[in-house]
């Protein structure tokens, strides 16, 4: 029961703040709402029993990426800036696209996956995760792990190259 309450709280937080985040006029507020959404997502991970993912979500998203966002917002906008007003036509079109997509997805979910309830709960331990990440056997992920590391390196270099003053 407690879990259900937690889930509903998190779900409401996610729904409300993601909508607020995309509709807020002030960009810094948008970023803050986004932060709440990300944190709530982390909560969902924890609720599902993935502690490591929870940690990653908090540290990478809420810690790293959001800081980047805040910095770049501060760099590129001035106090009191409001978002550029957008024509109602565009808003309508975007709304139509979003609602149509949501309707299709909701239809699929309600008609196909509603019956599925949780099977056995097997929460992976840290040790298992560590082994899976560092092994080369079946169901082990050293290669993508290395690929991600190379990607991150490349993006560090790329970020420096692109953003440096000429």
């Amino acid at each position: 029961m407690a879990e259900q309450i937690i889930f509903y709280v998190l779900a409401i937080v996610i729904v409300v703040f993601s909508i607020l985040s995309v509709s807020s006029k002030r960009i810094l507020r948008s970023a803050t709402y986004l932060l709440f959404v990300l944190l709530a997502t982390a909560g969902l991970y924890l609720l599902m029993g993935y502690q490591f993912l929870f940690g990653v979500q908090i540290s990478v998203y809420a810690g790293g990426i959001m800081v980047l966002y805040i910095f770049s917002i501060l760099l590129t906008s001035h106090a009191g800036d409001k978002a550029k007003s957008v024509s109602w036509k565009r808003l309508l079109l975007a709304g139509i696209a979003a609602i149509a997509g949501l309707a299709v997805c909701g239809h699929i979910i309600f008609h196909n996956v509603y019956k599925v309830v949780e099977a056995v709960a097997a929460e992976p331990t840290m040790q298992e995760i560590g082994k899976a990440m560092m092994g080369t056997e079946k169901n082990q992920y050293l290669l993508p792990f290395e690929a991600i590391s190379v990607l991150l390196l490349a993006c560090i270099i790329g970020g420096i190259m692109i953003a440096r003053k000429r």
């Binding site: 097997a122 991600i148 970020g159």
Partner: protein, 104 residues
């Protein structure tokens, strides 16, 4: 252990995703577009994890996919922000409809 159905997570992630879609389509500021993108990515991550938990409880593929997706999105965000700052330096704003020098 718990009686939260899979569909609950999926509905939440779907709403989040389409909120991201709406933001992506309606905003003009590049940074907010990027944030909408983050929302969509997050929704996808939730789906990965939820499917992993409910359909393949013994395995960790979904969780790892989510993890790598987080890594990729971090990289992508860093680069995108670098580009946005560069654009800001050049044209003094970051509105997507004013970046049209390359169009012609």
């Amino acid at each position: 252990m718990s009686n939260i159905p899979l569909a609950g997570y999926l509905i939440v992630s779907a709403i989040m995703f389409f909120a991201g879609v709406y933001g992506f389509l309606s905003r003009r500021n590049m940074l907010t577009i990027l944030m909408s993108l983050e929302l969509m990515l997050n929704a996808a991550d939730i789906n990965f994890v939820a499917f992993n938990k409910f359909l393949y409880p013994g395995q960790m593929d979904g969780a790892f996919f989510a993890m790598f997706a987080i890594g990729v999105s971090a990289a992508e965000t860093a680069i995108a922000i670098a580009i946005i700052i560069n654009i800001y330096r050049n044209i003094k704003n970051i509105y997507v409809d004013e970046v049209n020098k390359m169009k012609y």
